[in-house]
Subunit: 247 residues, 2 copies
């Protein structure tokens, strides 16, 4: 992987004022956390379900609806509700009988109880000493606040898609953050484990940091294993990013 | 002052999920901090100016423009810019010759370097264990983030007026916070040192906590020395509020 020269790092460090992060996959291990939560639910209810597969399908299943929102075919809907709707649609595929509303809400609420990757708290705490840090996520503000409290993420500010009523990679999200921070795009860095997200940010002039998360989708992950463009920083985790940004 | 009965506190504690705070005056000592900053500026520049009076006039001077925004006579303008414009208008009154742009920006930036009241960090840290906490201020998000970092305020989330493009006491601010948190108004408490702010919040169904700040406007303060309605909680400071909310 390309590494920053000392000169390059100096320029970045003196330019960047805020680092905002994709959250699901980049900062928190949504897959591992959900599999644990759902397995526990299954044990309590004596339900035999391939929970790993259900979690993977759940993550995949909300994307079409998110894109319908992006294309304007579906009115603005927060991620919590997209998660809920995707779960309801998914149950028959796994032969699960319709669940009561309280169970559906409990299961959707598992997205609030996600653990950070092992490097998250230390890396973010170091970055926070020098930069403004926050999530820039397709999650809604209330979901991101709950995740932050659960995973003890030391954010300075919370940017959820509902602030902009747009989902990434719509430009309104990245530019909306710059505007709310009173910063130029080149003063804001996006940290993300997903090349598509960084590509959209770079197109608008933001700085980019690729955080490699080869296990986000489990041991058989095939996407986002390496950088697809020359991002400004490539980091193995958030502690590595903190070091590369001089903190 | 009326105090909460044990029964009343229990009900509040089990209902309230988030406590949001007016910031200027309630959490940070804007007046004392600004007077210090401006006095230091005056010493460096060898300018003899009654800085205390200038600070009081500055705080008063932006309110008319804020109200013009609220009435729709002035397009949406963030507080940073209202502060800047008010300062420019105020200088002749104090016989100060026009200052270069860099000085005007430096002085406006003094609003970013405000200290919390002595009880702020401890009180908020205790409240944060049980509740979602954040500012709900007429400040813009970027200003509130900078104040939080300077004063080390442990917010979970930042609500500035620019998220809603409305200033308090417009209902869009209080209800906007409830919506972004996914909470009903009765699950959200406003903490404020100003009766007018609490009155607007109560009208919309939010819970209310009056935090008495008899020195906000200096030793000769005449307003907001006591509660003008029966607020849900009356607290002498944020540590007292934390105790009264069971944290």
């Amino acid at each position: 992987m390309p590494s920053l020269t000392a000169e390059g790092a100096g320029t970045l460090e003196s330019t960047v004022r805020a680092v905002v992060f994709d959250t699901f996959g980049t900062v928190v291990d949504w897959r591992g956390s959900l599999i644990n939560s759902l397995r526990n639910f299954g044990v309590e209810r004596q339900m035999e379900v391939p929970w790993e597969k259900l979690v993977d399908r759940w993550r995949a299943a909300y994307q079409p609806n998110l894109n319908r929102v992006r294309r304007g075919e579906l009115e603005w809907t927060i991620l919590d509700e997209l998660h809920y709707a995707a779960l309801v649609e998914l149950l028959p595929e796994f032969g699960i009988a319709p669940l009561p509303e309280s169970d559906l809400r409990f299961l959707t609420g598992c997205w609030e109880r996600l653990s950070g990757w092992p490097d998250a708290i230390q890396g973010l705490s170091r970055l926070r000493r020098k930069y403004i840090i926050g999530p820039l996520s397709n999650g809604n503000v209330s979901l991101l606040v709950k995740i932050a409290k659960f995973a003890e993420l030391p954010w300075d500010v919370i940017f959820g898609a509902d602030l902009f009523r747009h989902y990434k990679p719509d430009p309104e999200t990245y530019l909306g953050v710059c505007s709310l921070l009173g910063l130029q795009p080149q003063q804001v860095m996006l940290g993300a484990a997903h090349n598509y997200d960084l590509a959209a940010a770079k197109e608008l002039g933001l700085q980019t940091a690729f955080i490699v998360r080869p296990m986000e989708y489990g041991p058989e992950q095939t996407t986002d294993l390496s950088e697809e463009q020359r991002w400004d920083v490539i980091a193995t985790d958030l502690v590595d990013l903190a070091a590369k940004l001089g903190t």
